[in-house]
């Protein structure tokens, strides 16, 4: 690859990447990750969770549904970045129910994990009987406390005639 410069300000991963500001509220959507033709009937379902960070304590709650088999474990992991799963996990949450149910729990994060949370690197993996290596995954996204919406979309504008 090329040698690169330099300026941390230019080290943007994404257009809509959010600055690493401390944020107290988060949202997370659970999606099937990742499946191929042979497993697409097994790795299914969805879920929606909310989380809040009070100091270093992260409290998570939400629900899931549509699994093809009973849920087993819900784990938190720190990936390289948004959308990049990891195989190392640092905490378990409580997953109750069967093919639908709830996820809840509180964990104490390290400073590195708090930083990762605000950089959208923290993810949750929900496993099931048929999807032992993960059926649903999702990444925590900071919520705009002013609007209450996840900071993933851009504002729109209106173009003017120029020629």
């Amino acid at each position: 690859m090329r040698n690169h410069a330099q300026s941390a300000a230019l080290a943007l991963l994404v257009l809509n990447a959010m600055p690493a500001l401390a944020a107290s509220n988060y949202t997370l959507s659970l999606d099937p990750v990742a499946y191929d033709n042979s497993t697409r009937d097994v790795i299914v379902g969805d879920g929606h969770l909310k989380a809040s960070l009070d100091g270093s304590t992260l409290t998570v709650s939400g629900n899931f549904s549509g699994l093809s088999s009973n849920a087993t474990t819900a784990r938190l992991g720190l990936g390289l970045d948004f959308g990049i799963p990891a195989t190392v996990f640092f905490a378990n949450l409580t997953a109750s129910g069967a093919q639908a149910g709830t996820i809840s729990g509180s964990v104490t994060l390290t400073p590195a994990q708090v930083a990762g949370l605000n950089k959208r690197q923290l993810f949750l993996q929900l496993s099931s009987v048929k999807g032992a290596d993960g059926s649903l995954w999702g990444w925590f996204v900071p919520v705009d406390n002013a609007s209450g919406t996840a900071r993933t979309t851009k504002k729109t504008g209106v173009a003017k005639d120029k020629k």
Partner: protein, 737 residues
């Protein structure tokens, strides 16, 4: 000329390594089964060989080597994917997911036969018992992935070569060979000219008209040489677009992949269908004037022919089996034909005419071959080849030493599957190139080599094909995030610019005189580059991709769907906006080991799918960028990705269609939907607009087939979008009379 990044020269050590690897790979090809006896019999293998060629080889290759968007079914890749699983799993997968476009459409016996054939090619010996759907034997207990050449055999190799197309001329000439690349095609109408007629009042098209096309016509792929997909027509406006109504429609050939651009001249529509069929229709009434079914029929749902060209008194068409045809525009009779390339090559990107030369790219360079991909030009009157530019830098030529010492025969890819654009003042034509193949650096053994001229913008002199400059967007690209798509030529004052956006979703602006980088804009989420230098245009992969090994899984956002793909942008001149169709999906992807042998290679990857994080499962995204400031102006997203190019007009309307059959009109200034309708199946292709007797029309095709832009939403939206598996058709809309 720009050369950036680390360039690896040919070294003795590297050459020795390559030779040793080649020898080792050769040693893995056997003539008899090297593994155990499998749970299938010889009769199934024999029947499966025939069934495979008829149903599978079009995508997976005649030698099971895989294709641009399909996996290899023999060798280490197959074993890595399936060796540890049981036969029942594989049967279930194949019988429910294959063939592409006809999943589950074969008999249970046929599936068992095809699978038996695949097992035999992977080293297993036939036994006494017949394979059944529920056989639970683990696959690697009776196969070892050592390819059995004798099992593939001459029959397979022969079947992989299509019969050459006949000239198809009127007067009873032999019909074109059916079958084409990959074996015999589906039954269908006879080939050759099937409808005879004469276009009334046809007017020859001059070079001047190509440089300054009439607003009433749509003479080339993107309407003008600059690739704008913009029309000066303004009868349809935000105020009246809600009144659009269907004027006529036309059922098109089924099968294959349809991504058509209707070409319009003086009230006549020239339309390319699958099966390499060209038709002339009255563009006002939909009445067929002439039809030439040149053939061959498609053998896979891949490789749509995107555009034909018109010039003087001829229609030019590059076929899916890499033959350039000139047809009499008045009658449809073939005037001349020239073979562009042989083997497994094809052309899908469309052709363009510049100063009496017909230019075409080339694809099908996935597998290792003695013939490499190139852009070429042909005399418009005679078909004689004028020049050829190899997009793969060969050894001994500039850039030939950027492939880590690989022999030329093992430099795969760098296809050109989207037609170029042209600046008449600079007399320069601009083309994008695809990635090197196999996709992964570790698979293709280029490692830190840039692999020129992959993933580049090429500026060529159309007179002689000489390279003026190149800009490599991603040196040594490694995730099938290529930059092969349209090059849009825009001026801002004295600044002559070329803009393009590729699968990474990065919008690039270059100086089209010099090739110098000007600026870039990342337009959607991506996680493959850890650094994007907006001052220099240099990208840096995240470290694990740089340190990659084969059979290691990586997250890639966007996926090979793009970002941006063949669904082209539109430059709306009045607003200076580039309106960009985008897709949002991700994959876990791995590069496999490949054999360094002729016929080997391929894309050599496996993929698993997931929705792009943060998008709430919205795969489609449409955005507009101010091309002067390179700042986003508006964007919105929806569940279905867009499967047509963008079209915009002086009337302030944009038109675009999607995977879920919606064809809509938007306000180009805001992106707001003003009108929409539903087509028979996925809206797919390149919408155009034209006028006859002062009335503006909009034409759009519904189509099926294609690579990742079709395959990813088919997988990810399986429970959301339900669409017919037939319905390739052209629709023409206008305001009420």
């Amino acid at each position: 000329m720009r050369i950036s990044g680390k360039i690896i020269g040919l070294s003795t050590g590297a050459l020795a390594l390559a030779v040793a690897a080649f020898a080792a790979a050769q040693a893995q090809i056997s003539t008899t089964g090297t593994a155990g006896v499998g749970p299938f019999n010889q009769a199934q293998v024999d029947a499966g060989r025939t069934a495979y060629q008829a149903n599978c080889s079009g995508c997976h290759g005649p030698a099971l080597q895989g294709g641009p968007n399909s996996t290899a079914l023999a060798g280490p890749g197959f074993m890595a994917a399936w060796g540890g699983r049981n036969s029942a799993d594989y049967y279930r997968y194949v019988s429910t997911q294959m063939p592409y476009g006809n999943a589950g459409g074969l008999s249970s016996d046929t599936y068992a036969n095809i699978i038996s054939f695949i097992y035999a090619v992977n080293g297993s010996k036939p036994g006494a018992t017949a394979l059944t759907a529920d056989n639970a034997t683990r696959i690697n207990t009776f196969t070892d992935g050592h390819i059995v050449d004798a099992t593939i055999g001459a029959q397979v190799a022969q079947a992989g070569r299509g019969a050459p197309a006949g000239d198809g001329e009127a007067g009873g000439a032999a019909p074109a060979g059916r079958g084409g690349r990959g074996g015999r095609g589906a039954a269908g109408p006879a080939f050759g000219q099937t409808v005879f007629g004469t276009v009334p009042d046809y007017k020859d098209i001059s070079d001047a008209e190509l440089r300054n096309p009439s607003p009433n016509d749509w003479l080339m792929f993107r309407h003008n040489y600059q690739g704008w997909s913009y029309s000066p027509l303004n009868q349809i406006t935000p105020a009246n677009v809600k009144n659009l109504q269907l004027k006529w429609s036309w059922a098109m050939n089924e099968g294959g992949a349809s991504q058509v651009t209707p070409i319009i001249h003086n009230g006549v529509m020239f339309l390319s269908n699958t099966s390499n069929t060209i038709q002339a229709l009255n563009a006002k009434t939909g009445e067929l004037i002439w039809e030439n079914r040149i053939g061959p029929a498609p053998t896979s749902a891949y490789g749509g022919t995107r555009s034909i060209a018109v010039y003087h008194d001829k229609v030019y068409f590059a076929s899916t089996n890499a033959i350039m045809y000139a047809l009499d525009a008045r009658t449809g009779k073939i005037v001349w034909q020239t073979q562009i390339a042989g083997g497994t090559h094809g052309t899908t990107g469309g052709v363009m005419v510049i100063n009496g030369k017909v230019l075409s790219g080339l694809m099908g360079c996935d597998n290792y071959s003695t013939e490499h991909c190139f852009i070429s030009a042909y005399d418009a009157e005679t078909g004689a080849r004028d020049w050829k530019f190899y997009t793969t830098a060969l050894n001994g030529t500039p850039g030939g030493d950027t492939w880590n010492g690989l022999e030329d025969n093992f430099k795969g890819g760098v296809d050109t599957w989207i037609a170029g654009t042209y600046d008449p003042e600079l007399n320069t034509t601009y083309w994008g190139t695809a990635q090197a193949k196999p996709w992964f650096r570790a698979s293709r053994r280029t490692f830190g080599g840039n692999a020129l001229y992959s993933v580049s913008t090429l500026a060529l002199n159309p007179d002689d094909g000489k390279l003026k400059w190149y800009f490599q967007h991603v040196p040594g690209e490694s995730l099938d995030l290529d930059e092969v798509f349209e090059r849009v030529l825009i001026d801002h004052g004295k600044s002559k610019e070329v803009l393009t956006i590729g699968k990474s979703g990065i919008l690039w602006k270059l100086d089209r005189v010099t090739g110098k980088f000007i600026s870039l804009l990342p337009t959607l989420f991506q996680n493959v580059y850890s650094k994007i230098d907006r001052q220099t245009g240099e990208l840096q992969y995240r470290q694990e991709i740089i340190d990659q090994k084969t059979n290691q899984w990586f997250s890639s956002c966007p996926s090979p769907e793009g970002g941006h793909n063949w669904q082209a942008t539109s430059y709306n001149q009045p607003t200076d906006l580039l309106i960009i169709p985008e897709s949002q999906s991700c994959v876990m992807i791995t590069g496999r080991d490949v054999d360094l042998r002729l016929g080997g290679g391929g894309t050599a990857n496996s993929q698993k799918f997931f929705f792009m994080p943060g998008t709430d499962r919205n795969m489609g995204r449409l955005m507009a960028v101010d091309t002067k400031t390179m700042k986003p102006v508006w964007s919105w997203q929806q569940k279905s990705p867009f499967l047509t190019a963008m079209l915009s007009t002086k009337g302030g309307i944009g038109f675009i269609g999607d995977f879920d059959r919606v064809f809509r009109a938007i306000d180009v200034k805001t992106g707001k939907t003003l009108w929409q309708t539903r087509l028979g199946t996925t809206a797919q292709g390149y919408p155009v607009t034209f006028a006859i007797n002062g009335k503006q029309y909009i034409a759009v095709a519904a189509g099926l087939g294609g690579g990742s832009p079709e395959q990813k939403p088919t997988q990810l939206l399986q429970n959301v979008v339900h669409r017919p598996s037939t319905g390739q058709q052209l629709y023409v809309f206008a305001l009420p009379d």
